[in-house]
Symmetry: D2
Subunit: 333 residues, 4 copies
């Protein structure tokens, strides 16, 4: 399967280079008759937009979702849903020097190693801008899931800050940390041409039960792949995760929640919790001061992480729905 499709039963195909005419997404496999609303989709896209937060990249993109197919009278038709977003603010001249230069930590060099040819004007498909398609896919995935199922990502730690459990999520996606302090910190980083990584956490409340398959398509492995496919993510864990490595069995088995809502690769219906790490953007120094670069991408990545989790859940839900039809699960297991 070529690289720009994700999912089996609910399949997202994305396209678009950061400096080409448009980004887009095709969602195939949605059942018919599901109510959808373009303004909700637009709101989801607005959450990942750069320029939304003062310290993030200066590139202002309208990111207006334009619907091309698959929806009729406010409901899905069961046919592929295509949505595009025009690239209105690309300034190719900013990138002329990159024709012969490879940025560390970017796909510049490896794309040439792979293809012998690339669009030097930007990251192409490896740009953060490709996440537009993921957010579009995530919106439709969410429409398929039960209303009670909620996916919520937040920043667990960023530079000197730590989120507080159960606190409200602020504008920057941290819990119980004052937005102004984060903004000031990020502005300072930007001014000094510096960047920083972050830890992200995500919970799935009231997930459908029975999602995941026993061997290669465990729910945890499909979530891992989905989240690790986001550009800057360098680590993934679920449940106790990294903590398990130094733990004894007697301690772990006492609390069921340590298994992160997934047993044998299959969801139990309990809250699923996973985490991931985003590395600091590799553009630093003078270029970082001048250009349109985020000092930390975690705030913008949150809706992307949520979208990927939603896509995994919806894809598995469709498969489980078929199984249920033949062998109804007992009501009280």
């Amino acid at each position: 399967m070529p690289g720009s499709s994700f999912g089996e039963s609910l399949r997202l195909t994305t396209f678009g280079e950061s400096h080409g005419p448009a980004m887009g997404a095709v969602v195939d496999g949605m059942p018919a008759g599901i109510p959808v609303a373009l303004d909700e989709l637009q709101a989801a896209l607005d959450r990942r937009r750069p320029g939304r937060l003062s310290a993030t990249t200066g590139r202002i993109e309208g990111d207006r979702a334009e619907y091309l197919s698959g929806i009729f009278e406010g409901r899905t038709l069961g046919t592929p849903i295509a949505v595009i977003v025009r690239n209105t603010d690309a300034r190719p001249s900013d990138y002329d020097e990159l024709r012969t230069e490879y940025r560390p930590g970017h796909a510049d060099r490896s794309t040439v190693l792979k293809h012998g040819f690339r669009d030097h004007r930007g990251g192409g498909r490896a740009s953060g801008r490709e996440t537009v398609g993921r957010v579009i896919g995530g919106y439709f995935a969410q429409r398929l899931l039960p209303a009670a199922c909620r996916v919520t990502a937040w920043i667990e730690s960023l530079g000197p800050f730590r989120s507080l459990p159960d606190a409200e999520r602020g504008r920057y996606g941290m819990r119980g940390v004052d937005d102004d302090r984060i903004e000031a910190y990020l502005a300072e980083l930007k001014a000094s041409g510096e960047s920083v990584g972050a830890l992200i956490a995500c919970t799935i409340d009231q997930p459908p039960t029975g999602l995941g398959e026993p061997v290669f398509h465990k729910l945890k492995s499909d979530l891992a792949r989905a989240v690790m496919s986001v550009g800057a993510v360098t680590a993934f864990e679920y449940g106790l995760g990294h903590g398990f490595g130094a733990e004894h069995g007697s301690a772990v088995t006492q609390t069921e929640s340590n298994f992160g809502g997934i047993e044998g690769g299959i969801s139990t219906g309990e809250r699923i919790r996973f985490g991931c790490v985003v590395r600091p953007p590799s553009t630093v120094g003078e270029k970082a001061k001048a250009g349109r670069h985020d000092p930390c991408i975690a705030p913008r990545v949150l809706p992307v992480i949520e979208a990927m989790a939603l896509l995994v859940l919806a894809d598995h839900l469709l498969r489980q729905a078929a199984i249920d039809r033949f062998q109804p699960r007992p009501l009280s297991p």
Copy 2:
């Protein structure tokens, strides 16, 4: 795609329940004419066998590989390669009490949630025994890769022990740690009905360049899914991994190796390094003392982690081989 197949161009399909007649693997997509040797495959299987190490589960399985198809006169035919391993030591009576009991951290409960029906005699497909098929697949994947490409996993930390860089890998898969000390520690755990987790590291030396695709099938995401699909693995990282979360960009970009041999999701030819965490087995207490259970599964998991990495590399190599044919990569990038 149903859950027991892995890979696109090189596809591994595994089958077999821990207490059924046999485990097996079908490897489809291998080019023809590749030399293979059943004794090498047998040696790979022997590495994952329980009972090989004194402190591990008492179940002694011959695990003799029986070849059924796809090989002729010592070379692959380009047709599906099928290999089975009989289950000779299953003692179903050991498991009678499990007909109505769900073990924590196992798939017992979630399998019923999913299917409404299960084989109570053991883990079924969720048993560690399913990794037999992964090791078979890994052997054939390795035959496809360049001889210079070497995949090596070891235990980075286990209980009180830490591996030493560059030291030799011992019988238990740790580097520079005395095997007798590990054996004594594991025997003690076993005697007290306790278990422990571990950190595993893996390097890929001299990987082919250009492997991985920019968006959903980045090499890092396919490695993550592959490794996280192994039963007890709860976390994955590559390059600096978790370390990136608290790092500044200026520190990270100084050393190229921090990117773990993968840029923009595509291999650069430099050494790839990833790590994962295995949780402590959840069978503890009196049952762990009496039954055939490992106090730590990390030593047996090492060949499985290597097999999964080999499968990902070989699958991507086949895809890249097709691309190369149309657009030869420059010799000196």
Copy 3:
């Protein structure tokens, strides 16, 4: 997707060369709890066995199905079902001359064109013997379909004979034609080193409604691919089929059954009718007299055609089951 897998939601993977140790099939994606019976599967295999009919190839194969996984206490487990059949009657010495000889109409030459290497002892994967795996898959597919849905193939014409509508299907798979007359005709062909083609028809009574997808996976196109993948089949049609080519619209639209139970690629619930052509075996002359070759393969192909249709129906049914769960179809359309 490598070439030996068929289906998306219900996936059949087959393996085995005609002169290797065994043929086999893995069926993945079956829901759990479906009752299955090995003796029914054996009966299905017996129908395709050569040597069953006096005029067919002299090779007597036991073709005893051996179950390896996926079934417990007479019901499916929801895990991959693996079944193998040993090759007991292979006599490689019969084929020594074929090491350097390419038989016309066989895969001998094209396999070398593809792979540069082959098992010269027989057809390898291109042998009619690979249909063992298809029949195994078809059995399990049938278990998934509603009991009322019946797939029936027969020989419409063979040499001088024509089937009679509504007559009983005889031992050779023709309707209303005396078996002894067919047997005498085939024996005569065999004695003279001659072979003959045939027309096959197949009906699907009471198919589930809504199967098929509007564009590339229309039910008619998936049936066509399935049936055309059988070795000797050279043509496929459904509904009026070839007859449509010379027809006027006013004539066609008068009878709904002309559309063959499929409209817009989707089953309507009415009887589906399709047909196919098998070419005469290309082994003729002295070799055909001496060897173990059928003068007409149509009688043995019937259960294979049925199996392929069953696999297509069951695969689409699983997909439609998922859609139904989200958007129940109206009871009276």
Copy 4:
């Protein structure tokens, strides 16, 4: 795999309803650096346009291809190529009566059976307009094939006309038949509210060798599925095809070309020949006189048949390219 994607290594995903905003296609898996030209693509689209021929449907569509991604400086980037075509001439009011009416031979009724919901304004995905996406895909597939490989479809018979072998293909896609006579015949049909079917033939000259896989993905079965997925096609054959059904082996094996350039499912490099049947459009009578309906769709279907064959060849070529890399085929087999 949801229904609007085609191919494994080269994957075409199409979208768009006949009365929605746009039709589109995403082609993923193209190697980088392949020269492409939008005006060539436009010319391919123009061939399938209705209104091009005087007797065909009056609906005039600009069908202007708009490129969105995957191409840079006239060459492919190795990323998904997205092209859309706006629907400029949809007149939904023409279709109001269809909200509650099902046209025979269309997908109207079966779509409701499947989804319980549809866009009543037209055929939706089942409209002939979806072939826009196929023609887009076929153009890029052709760019991947060797220049010497040529795919040519023509009308073998239509109403009272028969093509002459080796004659030139006229405006209506028949060989050696005067275009004016065909035009007059079609105009007469239209005037009387009648329609007619046709037989189509297609040759593939100088195909790459080794394409196709031995069991389920034989070249003939993938061609069959591709061609049968086109809306109005009701039969497929290759080589002698239907003729084989009444033939003796001794007659068939004398001419190699009887096997249609495919042996054992794999291309031999010889000319491949296949045929198909298109049924008469089911809109007849007063509606056919008044509306924008073709009396015979064969002339417009020709580029679609060619596109589907090109997609199958290019998809298999990519797979074979990978195999070649590992086991170069002998130059003189």
